[in-house]
């Protein structure tokens, strides 16, 4: 046996071997709420399993299918909840045990050569969780929520998305009953791609509308949370 007679890929990843106050606080709140009958342990388990299994993959598949199949695109825009079922999301029963807090009517906003859509929840942080997963941190911040509705072009530029003036921007405000996602246009140089290839470039950011899909770009923008700055007040 040599010194290297083991598989490095199977090496256990490091973990935080220390109990943190935040971990303890999360357990304490949960236990006390359960003991007081605010919610049951079963409620919590089911909701946590829901939070663990959701993500943006179904939404990316929906858009890829729509790019590849004009009939499916028509269905997605006319009957988004029916189209969602084809990618495994039932808006009426997203958890499989009754609906969490965010039901809703769902609508898909299609970009055109002269119109760009972007979603926000100016009031709190409503988000199409069943099909897009949990919202990113920046989406929850008052900074994004309050500024996007006033200065969309500038805020999109902060994500690296510079849109020419001839493209109108439609900011769609979500609320507790209505959820939205964006269907961007299929980018150049992706003709002939398979659904799975297309899904790779349809990132969460593209489905929110703060980025455009592009061949070779498969990751979201990393955006630091920052305090609100009035664009008109700068300089």
């Amino acid at each position: 046996m040599t010194d290297h007679d083991h598989n490095h890929d199977r090496t256990v990843k490091p973990m935080v071997d220390e109990i943190t106050d935040f971990e303890v606080l999360e357990i304490a709140l949960r236990e006390l709420c359960i003991e007081k009958g605010v919610f049951t342990a079963e409620d919590h388990r089911r909701m946590t399993e829901f939070a663990e299994q959701i993500g943006p993959t179904p939404a990316a598949h929906l858009v890829a299918k729509a790019w590849l199949d004009p009939e499916f695109r028509t269905l997605a825009l006319a009957e988004p909840m029916t189209a969602s079922k084809e990618v495994g999301v039932d808006w009426m029963e997203p958890t499989g045990f009754g609906t969490p807090s965010d039901f809703t009517a769902f609508q898909i906003l299609a970009d055109t050569p002269t119109l760009h859509n972007v979603i926000v929840c100016a009031l709190c942080s409503c988000y199409p969780r069943p099909i897009l997963g949990n919202s990113p941190e920046w989406y929850r911040t008052p900074n994004y929520r309050r500024r996007l509705v006033r200065w969309p072009r500038q805020v999109l530029a902060e994500f690296g998305l510079y849109l020419p003036d001839e493209i109108s921007i439609h900011v769609q405000d979500s609320n507790q009953k209505h959820r939205f996602m964006v269907m961007p246009m299929q980018p150049e140089a992706t003709e002939g791609w398979t659904e799975d290839q297309l899904v790779e470039i349809i990132t969460r950011d593209c489905l929110i509308g703060v980025a455009l899909p592009k061949a070779g770009i498969t990751t979201n923008v990393i955006t630091d949370t920052r305090p609100a700055i009035h664009p008109g007040a700068a300089g």
Partner: protein
């Protein structure tokens, strides 16, 4: 609502936030392991919100935003989400501060046993 809560201030001061702990132990996960359980708790609370004093979805998020911008401005996300939720539940009288303090000690002892 923004009155300081001693038990939570102690947690803020000890500053065992995930970016620091992850760097210390060489862990790459972008969020702490308790995050999805916190998400489950928020969803479960939103379902329970018809009961007296339990914040509904909008109240919970409004209070989180207000507290995260003031009392817990130094905490990153999702620590600020968790501590703001604890603050809301104590300030609304759903959880008693002394009871929370006692429970924090008991859980730490249990986990370290």
């Amino acid at each position: 609502m923004t009155e300081r809560i001693e038990a939570l201030q102690e947690i803020v001061q000890r500053n065992q936030v995930w970016p620091r702990m992850a760097a210390k132990w060489g862990v790459e996960n972008p969020v702490p392991p308790w995050k999805t359980s916190l998400d489950g708790m928020c969803d479960a609370l939103d379902h329970a919100a018809c009961d007296e004093n339990i914040p509904n979805f909008k109240e919970r998020r409004d209070e989180e935003d207000a507290l995260s911008a003031t009392v817990y401005a130094d905490l990153p996300y999702p620590e600020n989400q968790l501590v703001s939720l604890a603050h809301s539940l104590v300030a609304r009288g759903i959880i008693d501060e002394a009871e929370l303090k006692q429970r924090l000690t008991a859980i730490r002892e249990r986990l370290q046993a």
